[in-house]
């Protein structure tokens, strides 16, 4: 999907995702530097801490917009199936690892890794789902 740029909805989606990724890196660096230089106080602390999450929310909204814009039923179905696959996988991993942390004192997996792991699983699902239709 990422490589074929003939589809207008896909092209817009890829551009949005790149913008969101770039903003996420930029905001993460800004926030990390801000916390390193001098600890902000009050409500600003919370706002600075969630700043890198905003482009991530934007990327999720962008995915929803793509699903609405995509006129090709087959492509939309491929992404929906991949998202559902990624969802099942990330919920399974979070539950299994959560139990391991809670009972067996396994190393703590930070919550911020849930989002990138979800997309890794979506990518893997996309490959599997695409293969099924070949």
């Amino acid at each position: 999907m990422i490589c074929s740029t003939s589809n207008l909805a896909q092209r817009r989606y890829v551009v949005r995702m790149w913008v969101a990724a770039a903003l996420c890196i930029l905001f993460s660096v800004v926030t990390a530097l801000e916390f390193k230089r001098g600890h902000p106080t009050g409500v600003l602390t919370y706002l600075m801490a969630i700043l890198p999450a905003l482009p991530i929310i934007g990327a999720l909204v962008g995915t929803g917009i793509y699903l609405l814009e995509e006129a090709d039923e087959f492509q939309r179905n491929l992404l929906i199936q991949s998202l559902l696959g990624g969802m099942g996988a990330i919920l399974s991993v979070a539950t299994v690892w959560g139990n391991l942390e809670d009972f067996a004192h396994a190393p703590h997996l930070d919550l911020i890794w849930v989002y990138p792991m979800f997309w890794v699983f979506v990518g893997l699902s996309y490959g599997v789902v695409t293969l099924r239709y070949r």
Partner: protein, 134 residues
């Protein structure tokens, strides 16, 4: 959705899902008791910690089976949309809270809570999505 049991696939889904949740309770109780009274070590600790997660993973598989079995296109669409909204909402919460934990050391949201959080959002989004089609 739980109340609308007109579709045979939905009925089967409800029975299977309840069975997985009963399995969860049946596994969680003994696992928690063993860890608090006779804490196991090594591989046994890991296997026992993973035990309550198995019915949870099965619950996700049951949802996938339902999507494969459901003949009513409308019911399937509602279910898919509510799951997509819910995974989006769950990822927003885990990401925002993850950054708050990372930068501000706020109260830790345990990973095993991601799964109930997801189903909470399914419960909230399903009636809203249904209401849109009324």
């Amino acid at each position: 959705m739980i109340c609308a049991s007109s579709s045979p696939a939905m009925k089967r889904y409800n029975y299977r899902f309840i069975a997985t949740m009963l399995g969860y309770v049946a596994f969680l109780g003994p696992a928690a008791w063993v860890f608090s009274h006779h804490p196991p070590t090594g591989i046994v600790a890991y296997l026992l910690a993973v035990l309550p997660a198995i019915p949870i993973v099965a619950g996700l598989a049951v949802a996938g089976i339902y999507l494969g079995e459901e003949k009513d296109e409308f019911q399937r669409t509602i279910f898919i949309q509510s799951m997509l909204w819910s995974i989006g909402s769950t990822l927003v919460v885990t990401t925002v809270w993850g950054f708050l934990e990372h930068f501000l050391q706020v109260w830790r949201l345990e990973l095993y809570l991601v799964f109930p959080l997801f189903w909470f959002f399914v419960g909230v989004s399903s009636p809203l999505i249904k209401a849109r089609y009324k």
